[in-house]
Amino acid sequence: MSAGLDALDPVIHAPKRLAAMAILVNSKAADFGFLRGHLGVSDSDLSKQMAALEKAGYVTATKTGRGRGGSTWYRATPEGAAAFRRHMAALDAIARLTAEPAGAEAPGAAS
């Protein structure tokens, strides 16, 4: 269990950043509006979350256009995609461990 906990990425573990990384790893890129709409957060909150991912080197941001028609596009970096996959594998391992006791009781209960 501790090995699984150690493998959790503290940057990605926050729910909003986990959701943002799940979107970005599975898309070519996503714009600010799409992420804000799916995550259900304010502009300032999303900016803060994305800045943390950018600082970790997990995403890059590109601004397109200017003024009202402009938008910011985010893209997962290879390092970010790898970190997301490691984090998901760790989460999956922990989920299996925490689910095991119920299933493990069956043989003992039968004997």
Partner: protein, 154 residues
């Protein structure tokens, strides 16, 4: 850690976000299917009609590529996020995606056969009708898959 979610809840949240790239999309414009049909029909027309003018043919093919690139850029912005090739595909979308790929390849072969046997005009008509109808069927299957996925992941 900033999260009090259980691992199962975090996994479900990640799955929901992963699927959002597929199911969360704006209405497809009415001209998308006939436009795709016309774009595909332009290939046999250009190749057959300009076969004796290679320079013009190259210009026509380059123009068609530019139209495709322009549409892809516009549609990506319109949609806000496009699924990545090689990314996770929600189970509900797999039958539609596989059928689309198979149907598309079959139609391309069919258009090529008609081009050789019946001429470029007939091939253009087959491409226009086939792609317009095929894309319309795919759009309906995609919308149904999106609704099913949205209902599953909440």
């Amino acid at each position: 850690m900033e999260s009090d979610a259980t691992p199962q809840q975090a996994l479900a949240q990640a799955e929901r976000a992963t699927a959002a790239v597929w199911y969360d999309y704006p209405p497809t414009p009415w001209w998308y299917c006939p436009g795709a049909g016309a774009w595909h029909a332009a290939f046999p027309l250009a190749i057959g009609g300009l076969r004796d003018a290679p320079a013009l043919l190259l210009v026509a093919l380059a123009a068609l590529m530019a139209v495709a690139a322009g549409f892809t850029t516009w549609y990506t912005r319109y949609r806000g996020a496009m699924p990545r090739v090689g990314g996770a595909i929600p189970a509900e979308f797999r039958p539609a995606v596989v059928a689309f790929g198979g149907g598309y390849l079959t139609l391309l072969v069919g258009v090529a056969i008609v081009f050789v046997t019946a001429g470029y005009g007939a091939a253009a008509i087959v491409a226009l009708v086939g792609v317009t109808a095929g894309f319309a069927v795919y759009e309906r299957a995609y919308a149904a898959a999106a609704a099913a996925t949205r209902a599953r992941v909440g």
